[in-house]
Symmetry: C2
Subunit: 455 residues, 2 copies
């Protein structure tokens, strides 16, 4: 355990911070929605009020990053992501307000069942507890994750990249001062900032106390976190997405969707990396589409069959598994939808896959046959996103299958708790020769703490 | 990678078996409910038909275990758990039939939303994929897990204890022969048995191909699995459960519930380990209750305050965190419900906690203040069980908070998939200056593959 010189928690080390978050989580779990929303409004207000301070701190990070850029150690993209201005800060404050406006993810009775006369079981949505997030350069990530955690009643451990250390420190201070001691019910310490690199190593060891870790950053970064902790990880490691143009596709639509899926924003995980084309329509769709791609600066590579139709570079086996994250695309011809499904299940990353076809049965074969979080019919893979899905703010995108899959909203920051209301019921009564039967009747009731329905 | 001499898959090693399970999982995901149920009925029938063979194989395991018992290497309890007879085998067949009768956990549209005109998003329940189970001596665990996996459309990797190797091998053979090639839609290879100890080490490394591991056995065993794999683990590591007798408790009820929670079946994870008693009622409830416990053979230990009321041994700090799993109990006096909540959150294992009180507000303080999968009011902790909860067959009990919590039914073996039905929709239309808005209207529709609602 080591301490950062700048540890905003003072002398406390990572263990102490995580323990403090655990205590806060127990209290925050029972704070009313109105109070959590008031605290969020307070944070949004503070971000706007303290604009000058925040931009000043951010300017220090940016100056440092520009020096690194000149030495060739950082990219221009990193510097751009890092830089805040008045408009971006206003967007951050608005984002916090929009999180406050979301439906409360907590307290709903998810199911209710009578086990026997006077013995009632309720399943109720509750926060997960302590969630940690480890993120790279964008300082807005700190505010977004803190807001989502507060909205969902979770304590949060925040660890940002060193390139944004001044920005993260001031944003954390703004959040802390906007909530600590300002509301009777919001516990101090619900958000904790850790800074030292050694602190993150320690954090990843605390699987008994941290319930979930959400890394935000590159695929490599998420993989690194997954490989170094026993804490459940919510994130996506790769986005090798495909578009399949079927023999029965509307070819004009196919061209537009395939173009949108690559060019609209190539750096993101839901952009297409490999285009699969039914060999019967390759000569009709590929020449025009490849010309459009090349005009947009896309480097197209194809398998041997593709190169008989269009003049592009050669794709190797490695291309089929590569997330370019850039204006690059591989193309492969397939004989039918089954071959497309097989290629995708073998090479895809279970993120987002799309078929273009006017034949509903072929669409069904593709959609049910592929193992991926999102499977689309006649739509761009780029729709795979929490905001577009209508989930409100997005916690992240998961390529795992456990707990949450695909774009994850506030619901992904909740779990459930069983509450059983009885009247002195004993298991002995339901065991042995004279065992009473259970009624197991669904109840149409919300849980009222400490009371059975109708009481 | 090593191969067992008895590998029922022939020459195939663990990797090949896991790959085969992965291929089978993709096909099994789309098998109709009726076919999965027919395969389950076929398994139940085969278990009954091949009774003699199964009992013969089991007798070999039992003979070996009895020899180990004589050498003091096995316990009588282990030998008892291992032993099958005609009645137990009939119970196993009936269990498989009851799994077939459960509601289908697959295919339900969990939510449906219009994103924009003609662009419809559906969230549909699907199998997880490849689940693995590693279990100790009870051979019925193999059949139960295989049945639950088949019902929920998952391929399954089965690894039993070496003490039950003959029983597991014949039961696996019965399952395989009752399904392989017998149904047009059920893929061969959906269940795979691995036997060598080295094979389980290899299995735990295959986190890219195995989606979930469900260890069944002691807490230590589950911890071992959790410490040795990156695959998500569904299981419970500890059951340190509490009963709190409040000052406003019905003391007769409290005595009965506290007795039931310990004595009805002390070896299980939902039995109480520590009894917390409000000091204002300790003198009224403890003497009679401790007498009853001692008559039932329970060894009671108490803190100093308890020992001023009843003549029992001294409990140490270690007692508060110990899962006895036996006729042992620690008792501690507390000043109020807050102290009880604090003790439990500090020492409990987030499994099951119960309060005895007639005061609804105190019940609420306890139930919402405690972080545990199940929190009860005026009922025995022993009710925390999938069957009693009405979940049908139980996959396991989870003390984690991610994916599934508390007793887990077939739903815990499912995840979901997003299906998007469009008409050539592009993300570019929803971006930039002239961005179209999303409608995000809830749809009252089930997903019809390849079609939008109303088509």
């Amino acid at each position: 355990m080591t301490e950062s010189d700048h540890d905003p928690g003072g002398d406390r080390d990572t263990d102490t911070q995580v323990t403090a978050a655990g205590s806060a989580a127990l209290r925050l779990a029972n704070v009313e929605s109105a109070d959590r929303n008031a605290a969020l409004e307070s944070i949004a207000g503070a971000v706007r009020e303290r604009e000058a301070e925040i931009l000043e701190a951010n300017a220090e990070d940016v100056a440092e990053a520009e020096a690194m850029l000149e030495r060739g150690e950082y990219t221009q993209a990193l510097v751009d992501r890092l830089k805040l201005d008045a408009a971006k800060l206003d967007d951050i404050a608005s984002m916090v307000e929009s999180v406050a406006e979301q439906d409360d993810p907590l307290g709903a009775t998810l199911s209710a069942r009578e086990l026997d006369d006077g013995l009632e079981l309720y399943r109720v949505a509750v926060p997960i507890g302590v969630v940690a997030t480890v993120f790279e350069s964008r300082p807005d990530a700190l505010v977004q994750i803190a807001a989502l955690a507060l909205k969902s009643g979770n304590a949060v451990i925040l660890k940002g990249g060193s390139e944004a250390s001044e920005s993260n420190r001031i944003l954390y201070e703004v959040i802390r001062e906007a909530t600590d001691g300002r509301f009777e019910t919001i516990p101090n310490g619900w958000a904790q900032l850790i800074e030292a690199h050694e602190a993150v190593d320690r954090l990843l060891e605390l699987d008994e106390q941290v319930d979930l870790v959400m890394p935000r950053g590159s695929s490599e970064f998420v993989s690194y976190i997954q490989d170094n902790t026993q804490i459940p990880v919510l994130g996506h490691t790769e986005g090798v997405c495909h578009v399949y143009v079927d023999s029965e596709a509307d070819l004009g639509m196919a061209e537009d969707v395939a173009f949108d899926a690559k060019v609209q924003y190539p750096a993101v995980c839901n952009a297409v990396e490999t285009l699969l084309v039914n060999e019967s329509v390759a000569a009709d769709v590929l020449p025009g589409l490849v010309e459009r791609y090349e005009e947009a600066g896309v480097e197209v590579r194809g398998d041997a069959a593709t190169r008989e139709v269009v003049d592009v570079g050669a794709a190797t086996a490695e291309d089929w598994r590569t997330e370019y994250g850039d204006l690059e695309l591989s193309v492969k011809l397939v004989g039918d939808v089954y071959e497309a499904v097989e290629h995708i299940n073998e090479n895809g990353s279970k993120h987002t896959e799309s078929i273009l076809t006017e034949d509903a049965d072929t669409a069904e074969t593709f959609m049910t046959g592929i193992d991926a979080a999102s499977v689309f019919h006649n739509a761009s893979t780029r729709f795979a996103d929490g905001y577009r899905y209508g989930l409100g703010a997005e916690v992240g995108i998961s390529t795992g299958k456990i707990h949450a899959r695909g774009p994850v909203g506030l619901e992904g920051l909740t779990t459930y708790k069983y509450y059983l209301e009885g009247d002195g019921h004993l298991v002995a009564s339901y065991s042995g020769a004279d065992a009473l039967p259970f009624t197991h009747a669904e109840l149409d009731a919300e849980w009222t703490p400490g009371r059975r329905s109708g009481e």
